[in-house]
C-alpha cells in the first residue's frame, strides 16, 4: 500500500531570469514500512523534494498525497497539526531547542499538541536510542551524536507514520554516524514506520530497501536494493 505519493511535483525558486527549477515533474511513491534512500549530487534537488513531501514548503506544481490525502489542500494551521501528528523530521543540524532539556525536546511535539505523554513509550525510545541517562540535560551539555539521537527521538515521539531525514549523519564522524543510523533503523522497524532519508553515503544507501537517485531536479533511477 502506498503511504506517500507525489504527482507531477515541481518547484521553481524565484522568477524570470534568475529562476531555478529545483524539481521537475517528479512522480514518486513510497510504500508503508519502506526505507527509501535518496541520493544525488549537491544541488540536485534532494532537500527540496524532502521538504515538499513533508509539507514544509509549497510546490509550484503538483500534489503530495499522504495516506491519500492531498496535504497542500490543508490550511496552514491544519497542515501544522498534520505535520506534528503524522510526520517526523530529522535534519543534519539537530535543531534542538537550546532552552529545553533532552526529554522536553523529545516530548515537545506532544506538548504542542496538548497530548498526554506516554511515559513508557518515551522511556522505551530513550533506552532504544541509548540516551536515557541524558534526558535531563540541556542540548549544550550533549555531544553531537547524542544531540542527533535526541532529534531522532523527537521525530519518533509522536509515533508518526513517516519520517523524513535530511543527511542526518552529515555532521557526525563515521563511527558515530553508523551507530546513530543503526539505532534509527532499529527504531523504525520496531515501530513499523516509513523512512525517507537523504544521504550521500553509498554504504548507508545500500542498507535501504530502495535507492532513488536525483539529478537536476529529476529522478534518474529508482532501484530496489537486492540484499
Amino acid at each position: 500500500m502506498d503511504i506517500l505519493k507525489s504527482e507531477n511535483l515541481s518547484k521553481t525558486y524565484g522568477s524570470g531570469e534568475i529562476s531555478v527549477d529545483a524539481l521537475k515533474n517528479v512522480d514518486f511513491t513510497v510504500k508503508e514500512g519502506e526505507f527509501v534512500a535518496v541520493v544525488g549530487s549537491s544541488g540536485s534537488g534532494k532537500s527540496t523534494l524532502l521538504h515538499l513531501l513533508g509539507g514544509l514548503d509549497r510546490p509550484t506544481n503538483g500534489k503530495v498525497l499522504i495516506n491519500d490525502r492531498d496535504i497542500y489542500t490543508l490550511k496552514e494551521r491544519d497542515l501544522s497539526i498534520f505535520r506534528r501528528r503524522e510526520i517526523g523530521f530529522i535534519f543534519q543540524f539537530y535543531n534542538l531547542v537550546p532552552v529545553l532539556t533532552a526529554k522536553e525536546n523529545i516530548t515537545l511535539p506532544l506538548l504542542l499538541d496538548g497530548r498526554i505523554i506516554d511515559n513508557d513509550y518515551i522511556d522505551e525510545l530513550l533506552s532504544t536510542l541509548k540516551i536515557k541517562d541524558r534526558k535531563e540535560h540541556l542540548p549544550s551539555a550533549l555531544s553531537g551524536g547524542q544531540q542527533q539521537r535526541v532529534a531522532i527521538a523527537r521525530a519518533l515521539a509522536t509515533k508518526p507514520s513517516i519520517i523524513f531525514a535530511d543527511e542526518p549523519t552529515g555532521n557526525l564522524d563515521s563511527k558515530i554516524s553508523s551507530e546513530v543510523l543503526d539505532l534509527l533503523r532499529i527504531s523504525i522497524k520496531k515501530y513499523h514506520q516509513t523512512l525517507v532519508m537523504i544521504t550521500h553515503d553509498e554504504e548507508v544507501a545500500k542498507t535501504a530497501d530502495r535507492i532513488v537517485t536525483l539529478e537536476d531536479g529529476k529522478i534518474i533511477s529508482n532501484e530496489v536494493v537486492v540484499k
Binding site: L56, S80, F82, Q92, P98, P109, L112
Partner: protein
C-alpha cells in the same frame, strides 16, 4: 585601511533598517538629554527672572553706610551697580490695618528693584511722593497728579543710650506719580511709597538718617567672595549685611547640592547609555558570522574594534546634531506652548553649555556602549564563526532555570520556552530589563512627586481660596451674620472663618520654664523695644502673643504644618487644648506642657477694657508656621484654638478673616461686589482677590505635569525601543530554531503565543524590579525632600505600581508585534536552510 572602513559604510547601507534604528536610538537619547538641559536652563533663567522681578536686581545690601562708604562702594571695580535707600518712616491711618512705609530711593535703586510708573514721574523735589495704585484705591486718595495730602509718619530707633525711641512727625506731600503695585503687597497689606532722598534728609533729624546700599556684583566675579571682601574692607557688622538669598540660591551660589536633580540626570544617563549599548550589542550579535569571516581572512581584532568604533563615530556625527535639534524643538514647543505670561520659564534658553554637554554625553554614551560589543566582536574566533552552528550554540544556555509546575499548567510548554528564552542571552536581557525597569522607576518616582506634591495643598500655602476678607487690627470684627450672608451668596463653595486677636493675650513665663536662647531673645530684643511697656505680673514675664480661633474645616487642613503632637479637633473644641506656633525663637515647650496666659477682656460693643484673667492652656501640638497669614504678628508666639474655645476664653464672637472659595464657572464680578460690600462694613477691612495668583499657580501645575508626562513618555519610548530591539534580535538569531519548531508542527498561533509571552515576561520582570526600586527611590526622595517641602506625604504608590505592571506588560507584548510579523511571514524551509 580605507578598504575595511569602506566595509563599515557598506554595512551601514546594507542594513538600512538596523542603521535607522540605531540612529533613532541615539537621536532619542541625545534629544532627551538636550531637552532636560534646555528645560533646566530655561527654568533657572525663568526663576532668576522671577526673583529679579519680585525682589529686584541686587545681590545684597549693606545697611547704615555713611556717604564716604557709599562712594567707596560705588567706585569699587567689582561692583556694577549701587542703589541707595533711606527710610523716612511708617504711615499709619486709624481706619486701616495697612502697613505703609515711606522711603527715599535714588534712581539707581528704582531701576534695580524694577519699579515702574503707571502715571506721572518719579519724585525729585521736596515732599514729592509716588504711591502704589492699589494703595490709592484702598485709602481712597484721589489719583490726580498734583494732589496734596498730609501724612503722619513715625520711626522707631535706638538712641545713644541703647534705648528704643519713637520719632513722630507729619508733612504735606504732593502726588507726582503712581507706580505699579509691588507683587504680594496687597495680600499682606503692606505698601511702599517713594520720595526723593533729599526729602528724607529734610524731614528727618540728622541722627535718624540712615542710608542703605543695594548692590549688584559685576558678573565676572564670584558674588560670595566679593560680598565678603566688601564687608571686611568697609568693616561692616554682620547685622548690617543682608543677602538676596532667593537669588543666590537659584544662581547656585550657595553650597547646597541639588541631589534630586543629579539623581534624575543620572537615571536618564543610565537609561540612555543602556539603550545605545543595547543597539550596538544587538548589531554585533547579528554580525558574529561576518566578523568570523573577516577574522578568517586575516583581519586583526584591533582592526575589527576600529571598524566598530568608526561605525559608532559616523552614526554619532549624524545623530547627535539631529538629536540636539529635536531636543531643542521639543523643549521649545513645550515651553512656548505652555507658558504665556509670568511663568517659570517664559523663554527658551539654549546655552552653549547645554549643546556641548549633550554632544559629549551622547558621544561618550556611544563609545561606552560600543566598547564591550567591539571587544566581543574582536574576540570572535575564525573557526567558531565559520562553524555553522556557532551562533546558535553561543546563544544556548548551560543553566536550567526553575519553572514551577503551576506556571506550566498556566502557560504550557510555550510559556516555559518563552520564559527560558529570556535568559538565553543574559546580558542582552539584563540590558533590556534594566532599561524597562528604569522606565518604571522614573514613572513611579515622578508620579510620586506629582501626587505627593499635592498642588492644591501648595496652592493653599500661598493662597486661601479665591478671596480673603480681613481686618487685622483693632477691636472691630465681622459678625456671625456677616459670615451667614457670605455663605448665602450664590456660588460660594466654602468659607473658612478665622478669629484672631493680636494684643491683650500675653504668654506668662519665668526664667526657669523657657530655654536660654529664648530668654536672651526676650531680654535683648523685646524688653528694649519702646512699645514694650509690659510689667511683670505675679513674678512672671508677659509676652504679647497672637491667638487664632480656627473652625473645624481649617483645623482639619493644617496637618502639614504639624511638627509634633496632633490636632485633636474634638478635644480642642471642649478643652483648653492649643496648638503652639513657634515664631521667632523657640521657647522649648513640648507637647503636653501647660502654659499660662494673661488675657485682657474688652467689651465687644464699645471696645472698653473690662478686666484681665489668667488662663492655662495645654499644648496639643506644635506647628512650624502660621497656617494663616494675618500680616502682622506680635513679638511672641502664636496660639491656635478651636473657635469655640476661642470664644469661651476671649469672649469674642466675631471674625477677623474669611477665606472664601467659590464654585468654578461662576461670574466673579457679582460675587466680588457683594463681598466688597461686606468688607466695607468695617472701615479697616481689606478685600483681597487671588484670581491672578491662582491662575498662575494652576498654570505652573499644569506645566509641571506636562513636563513630567513628556519625560516619562520619552523614557518609555527608549525602553520600548530597547525591548523591540532585543526581541527582534532574539528572534532573528533563532530563525532556524523557529524553522525547526515549524517543521515539527508548531502552529503559527502557538509560535505567536510563545513570542508574546516572552515579551510579557520581560514586562513582568521589569515591573517587578521597577516597582520595588521605584518605591524605594521615591521613599529616599521623600526623605531628602521632606525637610524643605513640608507638604510632602508618604504613601506607598500602589496606583503607579499597578500602572507600571499593566504598562510594561502591554509594552512588552506590543514590542513583539513587529518582529512577529517577520517570523510569521517567514518560510519554514528558508529558515531551516538559513545556516546551511
Amino acid at each position: 585601511m580605507r578598504k575595511y572602513n569602506g566595509l563599515t559604510f557598506k554595512y551601514l547601507k546594507k542594513q538600512k533598517q538596523r542603521t535607522a534604528l540605531t540612529l533613532l536610538g541615539i537621536i532619542l537619547s541625545v534629544a532627551l538629554i538636550t531637552s532636560i538641559g534646555i528645560f533646566g536652563e530655561s527654568i533657572k533663567h525663568g526663576m532668576v527672572q522671577q526673583v529679579l522681578d519680585l525682589k529686584g536686581k541686587y545681590h545684597g545690601t549693606f545697611d547704615n553706610l555713611d556717604d564716604k562708604e557709599i562712594s567707596i562702594l560705588k567706585k569699587h571695580t567689582k561692583v556694577k551697580n549701587v542703589g541707595i535707600q533711606t527710610p523716612l518712616g511708617g504711615y499709619r491711618r486709624e481706619d486701616s490695618s495697612l502697613t505703609i512705609s515711606i522711603e527715599g530711593w535714588d534712581k539707581n535703586l528704582i531701576d534695580m528693584i524694577g519699579r515702574s510708573l503707571l502715571k506721572g514721574r518719579w519724585p525729585r523735589d521736596n515732599n514729592e511722593i509716588v504711591l502704589e495704585r492699589w494703595l490709592l484705591e484702598q485709602l481712597e486718595i484721589e489719583p490726580r497728579i498734583g494732589n496734596k495730602f498730609t501724612w503722619k509718619y513715625d520711626m522707631t530707633y535706638i538712641d545713644e543710650e541703647g534705648k528704643w525711641n519713637n520719632y513722630e512727625s507729619e508733612a504735606e506731600f504732593t502726588l507726582v506719580g503712581i507706580m505699579k503695585d509691588s507683587p504680594g503687597g496687597k495680600a499682606t497689606g503692606s505698601s511702599l511709597s517713594l520720595v526723593s532722598i533729599n526729602t528724607v534728609k529734610n524731614l528727618l533729624p540728622k541722627a535718624l538718617l540712615n542710608k542703605n546700599a543695594f548692590f549688584w556684583v559685576n558678573d565676572t566675579y564670584s558674588i560670595k567672595d566679593t560680598l565678603d571682601e566688601l564687608q571686611s574692607s568697609l568693616k561692616i557688622d554682620d547685622d548690617n549685611v543682608r543677602v538676596n538669598y532667593e537669588l543666590l540660591n537659584i544662581l547656585g551660589e550657595n553650597d547646597k547640592v541639588n541631589f534630586p536633580i543629579i539623581f534624575l540626570i543620572a537615571i536618564v544617563l543610565i537609561a540612555t547609555i543602556g539603550a545605545i549599548y543595547n543597539i550596538f550589542h544587538i548589531s554585533v550579535m547579528e554580525r558574529i558570522k561576518e566578523f568570523g569571516t573577516l577574522r578568517s581572512i586575516g583581519t586583526t581584532p584591533k582592526q575589527i574594534k576600529k571598524m566598530l568604533f568608526t561605525e559608532g563615530f559616523f552614526l554619532s556625527v549624524i545623530s547627535i546634531p539631529v538629536g540636539i535639534l529635536v531636543g531643542f524643538i521639543f523643549s521649545k514647543l513645550l515651553i512656548s506652548n505652555l507658558s504665556i505670561v509670568n511663568n517659570v520659564a517664559n523663554e527658551v534658553v539654549v546655552s552653549f553649555k547645554v549643546i556641548i554637554t549633550s554632544s559629549i554625553v551622547g558621544l561618550l554614551a556611544v563609545f561606552i556602549s560600543i566598547y564591550n560589543p567591539a571587544r566581543l566582536a574582536s574576540k570572535v574566533s575564525p573557526i567558531e564563526a565559520m562553524g555553522n552552528d556557532s551562533a546558535v550554540l553561543k546563544e544556548g544556555t548551560t543553566k536550567k532555570r526553575k519553572w514551577h509546575s503551576l506556571l506550566n499548567s498556566l502557560f504550557g510548554v510555550t510559556g516555559k520556552m518563552a520564559y527560558q528564552n529570556l535568559w538565553r542571552n543574559k546580558k542582552r536581557s539584563v540590558v533590556t530589563i534594566f532599561s524597562m525597569t528604569l522606565g518604571c522607576i522614573l514613572f513611579i518616582v515622578f508620579s510620586f512627586i506629582n501626587s505627593s506634591a499635592d498642588f492644591d495643598n501648595i496652592l493653599d500655602d500661598h493662597l486661601h481660596g479665591d478671596y480673603s476678607i480681613m481686618v487685622n487690627r483693632g477691636m472691630e470684627k465681622y459678625s456671625v451674620k456677616d459670615l451667614e450672608s457670605i455663605n448665602n451668596i450664590e456660588g460660594i463653595k466654602e468659607v473658612k472663618a478665622i478669629k484672631f486677636r493680636g494684643f491683650g493675650f500675653n504668654l506668662m513665663f519665668n526664667e526657669e520654664n523657657v530655654n536660654s536662647d529664648f530668654l536672651k531673645y526676650f531680654k535683648e530684643e523685646i524688653l528694649k523695644f519702646p512699645h514694650y511697656n509690659q510689667k511683670k505680673k505675679n513674678g512672671q514675664y508677659l509676652l504679647e502673643s497672637d491667638v487664632f480661633g480656627y473652625d473645624d474645616k481649617t483645623l482639619s487642613k493644617i496637618d502639614k504644618y504639624l511638627e509634633k503632637g496632633n490636632i485633636d479637633i474634638k478635644r480642642m473644641k471642649e478643652k483648653p487644648l492649643a496648638l503652639f506656633i513657634n515664631s521667632r525663637v523657640d521657647p522649648g515647650y513640648r507637647v503636653g506642657d501647660k502654659i499660662k496666659f494673661n488675657v485682657s477682656l474688652f467689651d465687644s460693643d464699645d471696645g472698653k477694657y473690662i478686666r484681665d484673667k489668667e488662663i492655662e492652656l495645654e499644648i496639643g501640638g506644635i506647628l512650624n508656621f502660621y497656617p494663616i497669614n494675618m500680616g502682622i504678628y506680635s513679638m511672641g508666639p502664636g496660639i491656635v484654638l478651636h473657635e469655640d474655645m476661642f470664644k469661651d476664653i476671649l469672649e469674642i464672637d466675631g471674625y477677623s478673616r474669611f477665606d472664601i472659595s467659590i464654585e468654578p464657572k461662576i461670574i466673579r464680578e457679582k460675587i466680588e461686589n457683594k463681598l466688597e460690600g461686606i468688607t466695607n462694613k468695617i472701615p479697616g477691612g481689606t478685600f483681597v482677590d487671588y484670581e491672578k495668583e491662582k491662575k498662575l499657580l494652576q498654570k505652573q501645575k499644569r506645566q509641571i505635569k506636562i513636563m513630567v508626562i513628556s519625560l516619562i513618555i520619552v523614557i518609555g519610548l527608549i525602553g520600548f525601543f530597547n525591548i523591540v530591539n532585543t526581541i527582534t534580535t532574539n528572534l532573528i538569531i533563532r530563525t532556524r530554531e523557529f524553522g525547526m519548531l515549524r517543521a515539527i508542527g508548531i502552529t503559527n498561533k502557538q509560535l505567536k503565543k510563545m513570542v508574546r509571552l516572552e515579551g510579557m515576561f520581560y514586562g513582568i520582570v521589569s515591573a517587578f524590579w521597577g516597582s520595588i526600586l521605584g518605591t524605594i527611590l521615591s521613599f529616599i526622595l521623600y526623605l531628602l525632600f521632606k525637610q524643605e517641602a513640608t507638604y510632602m506625604k508618604w504613601n506607598t504608590p500602589w496606583i503607579s505600581i499597578l500602572g507600571v505592571c499593566v504598562g510594561t506588560i502591554i509594552v512588552g507584548v506590543l514590542a513583539t508585534f513587529i518582529p512577529l510579523k517577520r517570523i510569521s511571514s517567514m518560510n519554514i524551509v528558508e529558515s531551516i536552510r538559513n545556516v546551511e
